[in-house]
Subunit: 254 residues, 4 copies
C-alpha cells in the first residue's frame, strides 16, 4: 500500500529503525525486534566486540535484519571516523549511523565535530546517516556534505520527552531532499505517530522499546504508531478550527 523507504538507493519496507541499546537479554530483544517489523537495526560498535555484542550481530543475521553500525560514545570526529572504519572492516558494510556527542549529560551532538566527521566519512565512501540536533541549519549542512539521511532528535537520548520542537522538525522536513529520520527522545507510540505526521520518513528508537515494561508489546505499539502516522500524513487530515462544526448537517447524502 505504501512506498518503500529509500536510503542511498536501498529500499526498506519498514519505516521503523530499531536500536539494540538498553536490551537486557537476547531472547527479549529477539521477540521485540520481530514485533517491531524492523529491517534495519543499529548496533553500537564499541559494544559489538564484546560477547553480548557478537550475540546481537548473530541475532540480526538470523532474523534477516540489516545491521547498521553506529558510533555511539564517540566524542570527536577522529574517534567517530576510526569507529566507522573498524565497523566497515568488522561488519562488511560501508553504512554508518554517525553519532558524535558533546557530553554525557545531554548526549547532544557536537556540531563542529559532527560536520567534520560527516565530511571525512562521505569522502571515504561511507553511506552516512547522521544523528543531529533538531537545528535545521545543521541538518541542511549535513545534507550538503552528502549524508544519505539526516536524523534529528526529538529530545535528548533516553529522556523519553518526545518531540519537544515540532516546528524545527517541520522546517527540516520542508527543505530536505534526503530522508529525515526522527531519532532519539521518542517515549511512546503517539510520539512515533506524530513524527511521521510531521513529515519524517522514518523513526529510530531503542530504549523506548528495550526499557519499556513489556518490550515486545511496546515494539508492536511503535510499529503501529509509525504506520498510523505515515498513513495519516498521506491521507490529508482535516483542518483545525476554533469553533465547532456539526458532523451531521441534517441533509441526506446523495
Amino acid at each position: 500500500m505504501d512506498d518503500p523507504l529509500v536510503i542511498a538507493g536501498r529500499e526498506f519496507g519498514s519505516r521503523l529503525i530499531a536500536g539494540t541499546g538498553g536490551a537486557t537479554n537476547l531472547a527479549a530483544l529477539e521477540r521485540a525486534l520481530i514485533a517491531s517489523g524492523t529491517e534495519l537495526t543499529t548496533v553500537a560498535m564499541r559494544r559489538s566486540d564484546t560477547e553480548g555484542g557478537t550475540g546481537v550481530l548473530e541475532l540480526l543475521n538470523k532474523l534477516g535484519i540489516e545491521a547498521l553500525p553506529n558510533t555511539a560514545g564517540c566524542r570527536t570526529a577522529a574517534e567517530a571516523v576510526l569507529t566507522a572504519q573498524m565497523a566497515r572492516e568488522a561488519l562488511g558494510t560501508h553504512w554508518v549511523k554517525l553519532e558524535v556527542v558533546a557530553d554525557e549529560d545531554t548526549l547532544l551532538p557536537d556540531p563542529t565535530e559532527l560536520l567534520d566527521a560527516a565530511e571525512q566519512l562521505v569522502d571515504q565512501g561511507f553511506v552516512v546517516l547522521a544523528y543531529t540536533n533538531d537545528d535545521p541549519v545543521l541538518s541542511w549542512r549535513l545534507e550538503e556534505i552528502g549524508c544519505a539521511a539526516v536524523m534529528p532528535l526529538g529530545s535528548p537520548i533516553g529522556t523519553g520527552l518526545g518531540i519537544r520542537n515540532p516546528h524545527n522538525i517541520e522546517m527540516i522536513v520542508s527543505r530536505a531532499s534526503v530522508p529525515v529520520v526522527l531519532d532519539a527522545g521518542i517515549g511512546t507510540a503517539s510520539d512515533a505517530a506524530l513524527a511521521m505526521e510531521l513529515g519524517c520518513d522514518a523513526v529510530l528508537l531503542a530504549t523506548a522499546i528495550t526499557r519499556a515494561r513489556e518490550p515486545e508489546r511496546m515494539a508492536a505499539a511503535m510499529r503501529s504508531g509509525v504506520d498510523a502516522g505515515r498513513l495519516a500524513s498521506q491521507a490529508g487530515r482535516v483542518p483545525q478550527r476554533f469553533w465547532a462544526q456539526a458532523s451531521s448537517p441534517g441533509r441526506p447524502m446523495e
Copy 2:
C-alpha cells in the same frame, strides 16, 4: 492479544467507534468503515429517516456493523429522550449515544439537560453512552446515574484540535468504573493514540475520517493509531527524564 472492549456486557474486538457524519457518498463511507475495522458506528437519528440515512443503516447491516443511534442536534432533554425512543422503535435497539448540545457554535454539551436526559433514559431501560464535556465531575455524575459509558470530548466537535486537556482525561479515567470513550476533536492518528495512552478504553470519531482528503486511508491510520495507543498503554512506557541516558552503556549484555 488484547482484551475486548466491554460495554454493558457486550464485547467488541475493535476499540474504534466510527461515526457516519460528514460522509459525502455511501461507496466512500463503505470503504472507510471497512478500513477502520469498527464494529459499532453511530447514526444520527434525525437523518436516518431520510433516504441517505436509510442507506447508511442498510450499509451497516450489510457490513455486520452494529448501529448506535445518536441524538445529535438535540438541544433539550425532552428532545433527546424523544429521539432515543424513536430510535429504539425504528432500529430495534435500546442503546443510544446521548448528545444534548447547548448551541451551534460550540456544540458543547449542556450539563443540566444532559444529566436530566441521561437519568430519564436510564430509568427507561436504555443503555446510555453519554457524550460529555471533559469535566471530570460531570463525567462522574453520568456514571452515578447509570450510564454504560462516558464519552468526554478532546475538543469541540469538528474542530480537529485534538485533546486540549489531557489532565482532565486522566482524572476522568483514574476514577471511572465504566468505559471511557474519547469522543470529538480527534484530528489525526497521533491524537487517537494519545487518547488510548491516557487510559481511554476506546475512541469515537467521524469527520476526522469522512472529511479527510482520503477517508479510507485515514480510517486505516486511525485504526493503527488506536491499536498503537492501546498497546503502548499496556506495555508500560519509559519514564521521562530531564537529562539524557545512554542506551548503550558500554557493558555487554549477559
Copy 3:
C-alpha cells in the same frame, strides 16, 4: 493608563484579586497583600469565625482592601446559600464568591449545585461571582442567571498547573458580557500574564502567593504579570509566522 475593572458597577484599579488561603501568618500575609496591590480579597467564611479568620478581616479593613466572602468548602447549593447569608450578616456585604465543589480530590465545581446556588443567591439580591469549571456552556449559563462575574479555573485549585485549556478560556471570553476572572491553577507570573492575554478581565489567586517560598516577592511578580498581560492584550501583539522575518530590512526609516 488603564480602564478600571468594573464588577456590578463598582470600580477596581487592580485586576488582581487575592485570596488569603494558605497564609501561615498575618504579618507575611500583610506584606504580600500590599505587594500585590489588590483591592479585593477573598475570605473563607468557614474560617472567618475563628480567631485567625477574624484577624484576616481586621487586616483587610486596616489595609483598605474590600473583603469578598467565599463559600469554599461547600458541597451543596443549600450549604453555599446558607454560608453566603451568614457572610452577608457577618460582613455586611451582599457580594459573594460562590464555590460549590464536588469532591476533595479535585475541588472542581459541581455544575448542578452551582447553578442552583447561583440562581437562589441572585434571587436573594446577592452580587454573585461564580467559580466555575472552564466549560463555556456552564459559564454562559451562570451569566444568564445573573452572575456579576464568571470565574473559570485554569486548572484545579492548588495544583499550580496553570491554564490547561486556553481554547476554552478564549471561547468563554469571546461571548461573555460580564467580567471573566481566571480563578485557580495559576502557579507563576507567566500564567497570570497569559490569562490576561487570553482576554480575561482579572485574575484571582491565593496559594500561588501564600505558599511561594517568598510570598511578598511572588505577590509583586503576580502584580507585574497581570499588568504585563493586560497591556499586551491591549497593545495588539504581532502575528505568529512559520518562517522568519528580518527585523532590520536594510532600508532606512523615513
Copy 4:
C-alpha cells in the same frame, strides 16, 4: 530590590534589551524605548550608516541608552568580523552582538561560521554577545570561546512563536556561567515572563514591540513581563500537583 544584570563587568538596571529593527518612525521608537526602560539597545550596523540609522544612534544618545551594534544580515564569519570592526570604529564600542545567519527563510545561526566569528572577535578584544540557536552544546562552546553572554533564540527571528523548547533553555541555563539572554521569537508579555522564569538573565526583543499595534504600550507590557518573570523565578513558585489542594484548610492561622 533586584541585583543588576552584569555583562562583562558592566551593570544594567534593566533586564530588557531592546532592538530598533522594525521601527517605522523615530518618534514612535522614542516613546517605545522610554516605556521599555531599556538601558542597552541593538542597532544594525548595515543600517546605521544611512540617514535613518544615524537618527537611531542620535536618539539612543539623547535617551542615555547604550547602543549595542549587531551584525544582522551577515552570512559568514568574515562579514561579521568586518562589520564588528566597522562598528567599533564608528561607534567607539568594542561590544558587539554577533549574528551570523545561514539563510533568509529561517535567519537561524550558522553554527560553524558563528563559532569562527566568535573566536576571532574574542581574540581581537571584543565583548561578544552571541546570538545562537537553542542548542545547549553550541551555547556552551560559545561560552568556552569567551563570549560575554549567550543569546539563545526562543524561535526564529520575527516569528512571534515564543519559546518553542523550554527544555533546551533550561539545559543552557543550568550550566551557563555567563548571562543567558533569550533572544528572538518573543511575541507577547507572557513569553518574556516565561523566559525569565526559565532562568534567563535578560530578554532581547525588537519587532514584538516595534511591530505591535501600539508599540509604546507593548514596550510597557514587556517591561512588566520581564520584571514579573524575574521576580517569580526568585520567589520560588509552588510545585505542580496532579490533584487539588484546598487553600483554606479549615484550621485557623496562628
